[in-house]
């Protein structure tokens, strides 16, 4: 059992990693052939770093991810607090159902629906609106449920007497929130924000529908690149992304030496 289990794990590993390793290998190819390795060169990495469009797309992606995750975190945290305090059970269920819609719906339907809204607004306002702001709205929309779902459990775990105690001590409700509750739910907010950031950075399908010509994110740029002639600088980009992620993961894994720590982190 043990040996066969290990072999099995090995096979699946091979399946997952061979395509990736092949691409990394060919990113060092001196010619642009996909099949024949004609010699080692760093030429395609040079090409990549000279590529304005790729760098623009990366900057756009980061800009969008930062702004959308920040706004989604503020809106989402407020929403979680609000929903938590809704008394009527029916209203709560209704709001949570709406919250679940973007998570349950296939991405393509969310993307199409939001594009239709913007297309309608564009014809109404006679304005070209597809661009950064449509992307921002789309990203905030699909980020919100995740922020709310990260903050909610923390609110539930929180000691209910805490804000009341703070107010008894003379705080206004707003002060009470920022001095007491906020710190209790901060871990949830932080996870929510990071998750929103990640989702926003990684999203392709929804962005694809909400994007205009003027504003491209990295996934959309990669998509349009694979649609056109694929040059090996694409392989270089692939390798850079992979290696950076791999290194960071490795460092993180080595830093959390104690396995129980990891478990705690996962279960949190």
């Amino acid at each position: 059992m043990k040996i066969s289990g290990k072999i099995y794990i090995g096979i699946i590993f091979a399946m997952l990693y061979i395509p990736i390793l092949v691409i990394i290998f060919f990113s060092f190819n001196s010619s642009n052939s996909m099949a024949v390795f004609s010699g080692f060169s760093l030429k395609w990495y040079g090409e990549l770093f000279k590529n304005d469009k790729a760098i623009d797309a990366l900057v756009n992606s980061l800009m969008l991810a930062v702004s959308s995750s920040l706004i989604a975190t503020v809106l989402g945290t407020a929403a979680a607090v609000g929903i938590y305090n809704i008394k009527s059970k029916r209203a709560k269920t209704a709001v949570m159902t709406v919250t679940n819609i973007p998570m349950m719906n296939p991405d393509i339907v969310t993307g199409v629906s939001i594009m239709l809204l913007f297309a309608f607004a564009a014809t109404l306002l006679k304005l070209e609106i597809f661009g950064f702001f449509t992307m921002l709205i789309a990203h905030i929309t699909f980020n919100l449920p995740y922020v709310i779902l990260c903050v909610m459990p923390k609110l539930k775990q929180m000691d209910k007497n805490l804000p009341e105690a703070a107010m008894d001590l003379g705080c206004t409700p707003l002060q009470a929130f920022f001095k007491a509750e906020f710190f209790e739910i901060l871990p949830g907010i932080a996870t929510g924000m990071l998750m929103a950031f990640t989702l926003s950075l990684d999203d392709f399908v929804i962005s694809y529908f909400a994007a205009g010509e003027s504003f491209q994110t990295l996934p959309i740029y990669i998509y349009s690149m694979t649609k056109r002639r694929v040059l090996p600088d694409m392989n270089a980009l692939f390798s850079v992304i992979f290696i950076v992620i791999f290194a960071l993961l490795l460092i993180r894994n080595l830093m959390t030496k104690d396995s129980s720590n990891v478990k705690k982190a996962v279960n949190r």
Partner: protein, 429 residues
């Protein structure tokens, strides 16, 4: 909510990854070196000062200008440097795409570069402005051949930018004898090595040339017939492509594809087994021209931009980057350009600038242009096209999936029934 758990683990690392990649790129990306470039003195002598500081919106096909990549001249930057007029340059992926953007009235474009039939449509719908040719002195370089074209017979609205024809690109290693007809696109011997246009108008035109039907017919039955031809052809098609054609032809994973002559020359740079031929049945000719839509806000500056594109040196840069045929006589007669073509491909001149009379003697060149079609015909084409795309072929292999699916369902049902029966027995026992 496992999804959350899953994503939580990704979040931090991806965040850090993004930061690191970003800083790497910032560090490594070096400023572009300036390429020496000058326009002709005539173009340089124009007084641009009244327009300096204004902006024009230019809407063009993707990869359809010399944009500074790989050591070329960035035409838009050069224009801004010369005139002080900022260029906001965006791309569209097709004429229809451009039309719907323009029609929706979003952004106001100052210069657009659509193809012939679309210009006819735009003119008929009153969406273009008449050009003031006093601002476009370089129009004198446009070849007689590309003046008074059918869609703008009085040369009022448009200035040709690029011209071209569709032909057959094939891999000499994989196609035994040089083809001369569209029929190679449904040659059983090349089955599964054939690429086809993923664009209804171009795909239907091939079928229509084969069947000797007018490519601008408004008769629905004719379109049906063309679709039948395409349905049969589909049995041999590897995939429907547009720009993926570069990769597939260059790597040799496909043997034959219909595509634009100019793009063949780019492909040939990466794979010299490729060859090009114009089919005997006839082929589409297109002219992409610069126009100014009625929504333009900066017409004079737009005309100066068009004039700039016609400047012999600028046009030369574009012709060398895009590799399409230029309607600009100053380019065609330029010795450097002729040498450049020879270096590209020994026959480059004949491929880009064929003589229509020699290729298709006795034919009317106007029958080879696409025309604007009424909405009913366009709807018909779009329905036929989606039917074609969805239809399954004779050698379809998706039946395996159905079999798998059915087996799985039966197995699952079996297990469920088995469990239920056992449960009941146990309860009864």
């Amino acid at each position: 909510m496992t999804l959350r758990l899953l994503l939580k683990k990704r979040s931090l690392s991806l965040f850090m990854a993004a930061v690191v990649i970003f800083s790497c790129l910032m560090l490594v990306s070096c400023p572009e070196e300036e390429v020496d470039f000058e326009v002709t003195s005539e173009t340089a002598a124009i007084d641009y000062s009244p327009y300096a500081g204004t902006t024009i919106n230019v809407y063009n096909w993707g990869e359809y200008i010399s944009d500074g990549s790989e050591g070329t001249v960035d035409v838009n930057k050069a224009f801004t440097k010369l005139t002080g007029i900022e260029v906001n340059y965006t791309n569209f992926s097709g004429n229809e795409d451009m039309y719907s953007k323009l029609k929706s009235g979003g952004i106001s474009y100052d210069v657009i570069i659509p193809s012939d039939y679309m210009i006819e449509r735009l003119i008929s719908e009153g969406m273009l402005l008449k050009l003031n040719f006093n601002n476009i002195p370089n129009y004198k370089y446009i070849s007689e051949e590309y003046r008074n074209l059918y869609f703008d017979s009085d040369n009022e609205y448009s200035v040709p930018y690029n011209v071209g024809m569709v032909g057959i690109i094939y891999n000499t290693e994989m196609v035994s004898s040089a083809p001369d007809s569209w029929s190679v696109l449904c040659d059983p011997a090349l089955s599964d090595k054939i690429l086809m246009f993923n664009n209804p108008r171009d795909a239907f035109a091939i079928a229509q040339f084969m069947l000797d039907i007018d490519i601008n017919t408004q008769n629905a039955d004719d379109w049906e017939k063309a679709k039948e031809w395409l349905m049969n052809q589909k049995n041999y098609v590897k995939s429907y492509v547009m720009d993926e054609v570069f990769n597939k032809m260059e790597s040799g994973s496909a043997a034959v594809a219909p595509y634009y002559a100019g793009d063949f020359l780019s492909m040939y740079q990466n794979n010299d087994d490729l060859a090009f031929v114009y089919p005997k049945e006839g082929t589409n000719i297109f002219v992409d021209s610069a126009c100014i839509p009625t929504s333009a806000k900066n017409k004079a500056a737009a005309e100066l931009y068009i004039n700039f594109l016609l400047d012999p040196n600028v046009a030369l840069q574009n012709a060398q980057t895009i590799c399409y045929a230029s309607p600009n006589t100053a380019v065609v007669e330029n010795e450097d350009y002729q040498n450049f073509l020879k270096e590209l491909h020994p026959e480059a001149n004949a491929i880009l600038y064929p003589s229509f009379e020699e290729l298709y003697p006795g034919k009317d060149v106007n029958d080879y242009y696409y025309r604007n079609l009424p909405q009913a015909t366009l709807d018909k084409i779009s329905t036929l096209w989606s039917e074609l795309k969805i239809a399954s072929t004779e050698n379809s292999d998706s039946y395996i999936i159905y079999i798998l699916c059915i087996t799985a369902v039966i197995l699952l049902a079996g297990v469920v029934v088995f469990l239920k029966v056992r449960k009941r027995r146990r309860i009864n026992a």
